[in-house]
């Protein structure tokens, strides 16, 4: 398979994830869509790594996974905190934090 297929797939996944971020309002689902976008990025990195025959890209992906895990932890922590305080689980409702 040519590398460009992987890259196009990655772009498609990224766009799908973005649609999710745009249309959904449940923070848990938005976090899931962010995961989608991150995994799309990871796929692109791996494709380039394969294309160059260089494994550095794989280490990058590993770091991306770590960052994604951190984001999940903090994001879900926020969701739980919101739930505890009986805040609506809807990102449109939570907009006091503005400049």
């Amino acid at each position: 398979m040519d590398i460009e297929w992987y890259l196009v797939l990655s772009a498609l996944l990224f766009a799908t994830g973005f649609i999710g971020v745009m249309v959904r309002r449940n923070p848990v689902v938005i976090l899931l869509c962010l995961e989608l976008m991150l995994s799309a990025g990871a796929l692109a990195l791996l494709a380039f790594s394969r294309m160059l025959g260089n494994q550095d890209g794989q280490v990058f992906v590993l770091i991306v996974l770590v960052v994604a895990a951190c984001e999940v932890v903090v994001g879900l922590g926020l969701v739980v905190a919101m739930y505890r305080r009986r805040l609506p689980l809807d990102v449109d409702e939570i907009k006091e934090l503005k400049g």
């Binding site: 973005f18 999710g20 745009m22 249309v23 989608l36 794989q58 280490v59 932890v73 922590g77």
Partner: protein
Amino acid sequence: MEQIAFFVGAIGALGAAFAVVIVKNPFYSVLALVIHLVFLAGIFLLLMAQFLAAALIVVYAGAVMVLYVFVAAYVGGIEEPKWDSSPELRIVGPILAVALFIAISIAVLGSGLSALGTPGPDDVPSGFGTPEAVGHLMMEDFLIAFEAASLLLLIAAVAAIVLAGRRREDRKKLPGGEGA
């Protein structure tokens, strides 16, 4: 053979991704993402990233998704309210996403990278993408990034405890609050 494997993986991953976006219940969204990750791991294997494919399944589909499942179950299957405070985003969002897809595709494909039209070099070093090779790289060339990542994880764990942990005033409030 490789083409078949790729298209199966690609269609599976894309379909699962759409499912994540479309299904109403967050619980099912999580399950769809697990399926997506499994297919993605297959594609990772095609790219000779055995270690990462395994890590994706074990760490991601295994551990992180379990966390999601727990949270989704804890929060409950909340249906999204029918009204949308900015309904225009329902239309604008997908259009923008398509624009994004086109732009990225053209940017990548038009970049004129010489190896784009090929499946990549065949003479990759032996053990490409094995845990041993990646481990060597991580411990030798990217040690600082590795340590920074571990520190980041630690900070995130502490942050999650601070964010989600029960405060004293919560504990006081809860019994009365629940009674009312």
